[in-house]
């Protein structure tokens, strides 16, 4: 799965993109976020307040129960601030 991070999520996590392999028991957006939090302090800190984290799956806004699988592009970002 391709993960993308934007704005302060990118800064806190320390990268703008990474390729990961999902554990077998992770199959929706909420699962991805919960799993990411276990990957270290940077992730835990960046995703602490997950009410302000927005997620898009394959460039479409997603909800916590939106299904994800290994071929997807999943983006995490703060609420947009417009142009």
């Amino acid at each position: 799965m391709k993960l993308l991070y934007f704005a302060w999520l990118k800064q806190k996590i320390g990268t703008d993109a990474e390729e990961i392999t999902l554990p077998d028991d992770v199959n929706d957006v909420a699962g991805v976020i919960a799993w990411l939090k276990t990957r270290g302090d940077k992730y835990a800190t960046a995703l602490k307040d997950d009410a302000v984290v927005r997620v898009a799956v394959n460039q479409t806004y997603a909800k916590p129960d939106t299904p994800v699988s290994d071929g997807d592009e999943v983006a995490l970002f703060p609420p947009v601030t417009g142009g």
Partner: protein, 154 residues
Amino acid sequence: MIRVQREDFDVGAEMRALTTGNTGIGGLASFVGLVRDMAGGTGDSAMTLEHYPGMTERLLTEIDEEAHRRWPLEGSMVIHRHGRLEPGEQIVMVLTASAHRQAALDSCAFLIDWLKTQAPFWKLEETPDGASWVEARASDDQAAARWAKPETSG
């Protein structure tokens, strides 16, 4: 039509491109957003707009198509810049053309309200105290909410 680009744009040229040869247009509305100097002329008000290439274009295309569904438009053009912008620079432009002025004015307001609140950009402001990410504002959501159709809002 929509464009997301680093480069500046020429509003007059875009207007001519949209209207030339179409004498069905009676009204052309536009809005241009500019970087405001928030620091009182110290020059410390540059900002950087980050976006999600691909998703930004998709969402801008969707909202442009929505405007064409809601109003009888002869044409429209949305340009949004990204990257670092200094005070006085152009950020965003909306043009809407219609036979009648009300459709042009209303669709222009609809598009710019959406762009300023819902478009997938994140703003990093430079201040004398360093750079900071702008937080989303509730008042912006309200401006965009005025346009929500009851049957499709969610």
